[in-house]
Subunit: 323 residues, 2 copies
């Protein structure tokens, strides 16, 4: 498998990314909750990327890609397909550099996310809500514009950027036993693996995934990538499949992948809102849901929990409108 990969980011790439993107990102706070510590029996450290620029960790990878371009490459702009936060983040980063950003986005994506992409100056072309349609429409857009493709998670520049999150987390805490992050395409989990496998190899890395979009879980158990087309889950940022670069990190460095039901995801989301007074997306909730569901795995441990984003349509909360 490794022989097929020529394009993996290194630990030094991650360090360079952190220097490159620092002017454009927040060093987000790490919050704790004595209530949730008592409830779980673990000591939880929430890395709040919901407070990140553009409302999600994805601005790390997007900024690294945008600001790493030569002027000549940058001129034609950047392009991507995304279920939301990467689109937003790439639009933000492109705006900061003053270059165009083309976004192919499912027509079913939350209106709040479409509005936010346009608010950051992104140019949207809509596709059907399936991986197949998304890739076809994207090919057209890229052919027309010549823009530099920045894949939402498989791009090594993006993975290196996401790795800066767990670098900060380790700097902000006094040692951890484990880190847990949600997994969709695996960009954040891969960045976490990239950083921790060098910086703190003793730290266990867990990924949490919706049962209803459990392709990473099944891939992990099978030993090869399994992809679903258009799975259905409230955690809309986690529908996409692993790709070769993220599969490399997940298969080599992840301790386990834990899955949670839709009800468990919504309950963990609402609990976090109620007790921590922070707004996080449904896509951020599987880690806490997994900790609550598997207390024996985490009890007595110091656990970093990556809250990946906070871009929610407040008029369509799942416990109000259903899911």
């Amino acid at each position: 498998m490794k022989d097929m990969i020529t394009n993996l980011p290194s630990y030094e790439d991650m360090l360079a990314a952190h220097e490159r993107i620092k002017p454009y990102i927040h060093r987000t706070p790490v919050l704790t909750s004595s209530y949730l510590n008592e409830l779980t029996g673990a000591e939880l450290f929430f890395k709040c990327e919901n407070f990140q620029k553009a409302g999600a960790f994805k601005v790390r990878g997007a900024s690294n890609a945008v600001f790493g371009l030569t002027d000549e490459m940058a001129e034609k702009g950047v392009a991507t397909h995304s279920s939301g936060n990467h689109a937003l983040s790439l639009s933000y980063a492109a705006g900061r550099r003053g270059i165009p950003c083309h976004v192919v986005m499912p027509r079913t994506a939350p209106q709040a996310k479409k509005d936010a992409v346009r608010g950051y100056g992104g140019i949207i072309t809509e596709c059907e809500p399936s991986t197949t349609s998304r890739e076809a429409v994207f090919a057209e857009v890229q052919a027309e514009t010549g823009a530099e493709f920045v894949h939402p998670y498989n791009d090594p520049r993006v993975i290196a950027g996401q790795g800066t999150c767990s670098k900060e987390l380790m700097e902000q805490t006094d040692g951890l036993d484990a880190v847990i992050a949600p997994i969709g395409g695996g960009g954040m989990v891969s960045g976490t693996c990239l950083t921790l496998s060098t910086l703190a190899p003793e730290v266990e890395i867990y990924a949490a995934e919706p049962e209803q979009a459990d392709d990473a879980y099944r891939s992990f158990k099978a030993g090869h990538i399994i992809a679903d087309d258009a799975p259905h889950t409230i955690a809309d940022g986690l529908k996409v499949p692993l790709k070769e670069n993220t599969w490399h990190f997940v298969s080599n460095h992840v301790t386990d992948i834990l899955t949670t039901s839709e009800d468990e995801i919504v309950a963990a989301m609402k609990l976090t809102w109620q007790r921590m007074k922070i707004i996080m997306e449904a896509s951020c909730a599987p880690p806490l849901a997994a900790i609550l569901k598997n207390p024996d795995v985490f009890r007595g441990k110091r656990v970093g929990v990556i809250i990946t984003g906070g871009n929610v349509d407040l008029d369509k909360l799942p416990w109000v409108v259903g899911y």
Copy 2:
């Protein structure tokens, strides 16, 4: 007026309060939002007491009162009447000391607040939603128990405790031109006046109030306390009237009181949720609403904004269920 007051807290009382309560409170973070800075033309520093223990700044004053009691006084417990967060906070503080806390609370208070008070071990007696009823029922409870009365805002121990918030805010920022806080009974505003009039007398102090519960505004303009019985506003923590101690601070140290409509309050609340990804109560929203409504007052200034609490019934959000 001053001659009538024998019981005002001093700056030294505030400093002593901060030492006394430190083990029981969070030093809450100060957050910023480049979006809201651009929108308002001011530089805003949000002191996030929504992340405070028990979900509100009121735990500062309550803890100061509870932990300042002699063992003999503490034995019979504490008692109060409150529209919510003081009840919660006093129950929390009493629980930490291991003494009973009796709470008289309007039967119309949000169920989430009643549940939370009971969750912290508070003993609730319900009254009608008017100041008159509340005071009558409270007199009975106090006569029965002999518990020490801790008024939600007029108590000098409470005012001294609330003053610790702006002490931290000044330590966490590099100088401010103004501070703005919501005003109901005036506990937070009085604590802010107590602290800043000595620590940073150049800082302007603004209070923000719902138009539909504008008794502090009318008092300020008239030069004497005007009280309403049972005003109606979504900002349910701001319905109570000023009392002699808070009137002293408000009348002597506040620069101005600004009022906002219910629509402006809900819009500012939702905007904060959307852009800052934090959960704050409707009662916290008048300051941002007032800044948006009066841009000329705040433009170009460094403004501390006190986010007073985050205890919200997530099943009854005003933009979903109406208000």
